[in-house]
């Protein structure tokens, strides 16, 4: 068949780099989701809306004349407290309950957040300008926005910092202990309530960073949160909980897959293709699982 991408090798390079850079950003959001899913067993439907709120924080700074890139420091700090407050107000009431209840609760939070953002920031689509320019490779045939490179770099930086924090710090170890066995952790003196609040705060902070990066690379609008939730959900499903390298790989893989699907299947099937992939992976998992069960018999 006659595909543009196979005729022009440079397009292949462009698509791969675009996919990977975007994938890294998604992986950061997904990592937050995996973290609180693993620790608290909560699927956060409001994940994308937290991201957008983080973006609006950076955008507000931009309007005030501060470079929006500072948002990657300010936004997570504010968002941590937003997450903490959210935990104290709502999440702590659903944390030990059925998964379905938590989905409902966070879905409610998502709606409230959307309407609030619409109310405060208006329904216009907005962008913040980083003025970072462009990196041109191979005689201008491959172009990479520096803002995307910056966002991938910041994402990696924060992810690495978080991994180290989780390994070395007291709170990090408490979080991991709670994830493994909340009851045992409690018996051994871990204040699981505090751990949960901190975990949700950290997740919100990660969303804040991602949001700030999105404000300079993509666009912001009060109602575009859901696609980010869905993508991170998918990445986590593919990678499994509590497995950071897998989250990173699956994030980048999904970014790549999406770009290539665009060239080969057409732009209109780009998101559909990702969903198809998800279904295939779930079926495959089930298939593997059923085999395992047989083996156990």
């Amino acid at each position: 068949m006659d595909f543009l991408i196979f005729k022009a090798p440079m397009l292949m390079v462009q698509a791969s780099l675009d996919g990977i850079l975007l994938g890294i950003l998604f992986a950061l959001i997904a990592y937050g989701m995996a973290l609180q899913w693993g620790v608290m067993n909560i699927i956060n439907i409001a994940q994308g809306d937290l991201v957008i709120l983080g973006g609006y924080i950076a955008y507000t700074m931009y309007l005030a004349g501060i470079h929006p890139a500072w948002g990657v420091i300010v936004s997570p700090i504010i968002m941590f407290f937003v997450g903490w407050a959210l935990y104290k107000l709502v999440i702590n009431k659903v944390v030990d309950r059925d998964l379905f209840i938590s989905i409902l609760a966070t879905f409610g939070i998502a709606i409230v957040f959307q309407q609030l953002m619409n109310f405060i920031f208006g329904a216009d689509v907005v962008v913040a300008q980083s003025e970072y320019g462009t990196t041109m490779l191979f005689d201008n045939s491959v172009t990479l926005p520096n803002s995307k490179i910056f966002s991938a770099f910041i994402s990696v930086l924060y992810a690495v910092a978080l991994v180290i924090y989780m390994k070395k710090s007291r709170l990090g170890r408490a979080i991991r202990a709670t994830a493994q066995n909340a009851r045992a952790a409690k018996i051994l003196g871990v204040d699981t309530e505090k751990v949960y609040a901190a975990t949700f705060g950290i997740n919100a902070a990660l969303c804040g960073i991602a949001g700030a990066l999105i404000s300079i690379t993509l666009t912001l609008h009060p109602y575009v949160g859901l696609p980010y939730t869905v993508r991170s959900f998918m990445i986590v499903i593919v990678a499994g909980l509590g497995n950071l390298p897998a989250v990173a790989v699956s994030g980048m893989g999904l970014g790549l897959f999406e770009e290539f699907a665009d060239y080969i299947l057409g732009t209109e099937f780009r998101i559909g293709a990702v969903f198809l992939l998800l279904v295939l992976i779930l079926v495959y998992r089930r298939f593997k699982l059923s085999k395992k069960r047989e083996y156990l018999k």
Binding site: A8, Q14, D18, N118, D124, V127, E259, T267, R270
Partner: protein
Amino acid sequence: MNKIAKLFITSISAITLALVSFTSSFAKVEGDYIVLGSAISLTGKYSSNGVHTQNGYNMAVDRINKMGGVEVQGKKYKFEIIYYDDESNPKRAAQLAERLIKQDGVHYMLGPYSSGLTKAIAPVTEKYKIPMVEANGASRSLFTKGYKYLFAVLSPANQYLEVAIDLAVEKNGGKGVKIAQAFEQDAFSQDVRLGILDAAKRTGSEIIIDDKLPKELNDMAATLAKVKATKPDVLVVSGHTKGALTAIRQISEMKVDVPMLAMTHCDAAKLSKQHGKKSEYALCASQWHKNLSYKDKFFGSGKKYAKDFQKEFGYDPPYQSAESSAALLVFKDAFERANSFDRDAVRDALVDTEMQTFYGNIKFGPGGQNVAKPMILFQVRCKGDDCENRVVAPTKWASDKFYHPIPKWSERS
């Protein structure tokens, strides 16, 4: 059920009944007022354009009332509008239209914001035979359903960017051009796309990229990489404000060189303000621009309208406001020609409308769309960091020459 609850329910239903009987006496004309109804998006995702629409309506109501109102059978009447917030939700809009007609007794409707919501309301107004003049639903499918009570003061969506293709062909010495296009998958953008397909066929142009962007998508890098590789003569993008902002952001970042870039929703997206110089040379389809030389006795000229609007609401009127104001002028004209409040007489008068307003000429085609007004194209031009939209087509109204081709990014400062 205990006594208190029973009492409570009885009193609530009594009040509701009383209210219903009170409001249905409202009817079409109340004393000196002609009551119009509109469901409009004051909250939800269309709220900014919903407010532009409402401001346009209100501005015209004030102006017409101040200048003597509407004269029917020798008596002067004033306009009044009942608004409900449809929350940008089509289902809600249809419910509210029903409520306006059945409970509030409204006999004449003004349109909501956006094609989608107009599509939701039109079957309701049609069912009750209520004339509706709408100013913000451009989708072609609104005008092919044989609606008899729907009148749109704006040009249909398929005309939005046809002019741009003609312009590109003209610049190419009358020969067909290579077109790359990316349209969001929604009713409006797909109608714009149909217009381009027609124009391409008519001019012998070739469409080399035809991407349909999913609604959730806010990254066009793949489409733009294809554009870079295939070097078309013109790139056409339509995906509401998100599409316009994303396109300019990524075209400038990826340094995509195209001789001509045509889009929709540039002014709604405040393109020249949000992206500044990066948006320079973009061609944008618009229903209206204040510099056009149409005139009427209520608002004077477009420029005068813009000035008054700015004074009243504190911002420059987008075309959504201008066309909404025009809808009221159409209603006034129709009432006076019908010289009656009979719905069908008003409807027949609307069919015969032929007038000029500050917004443009208005004459309704068989489907209810305005056939007397061409779309205009403006181009973003910058002086230093100050960018503004200048009309470049059609030549009759142009204030500036169309700049073609767009300089390469390497030559732009």
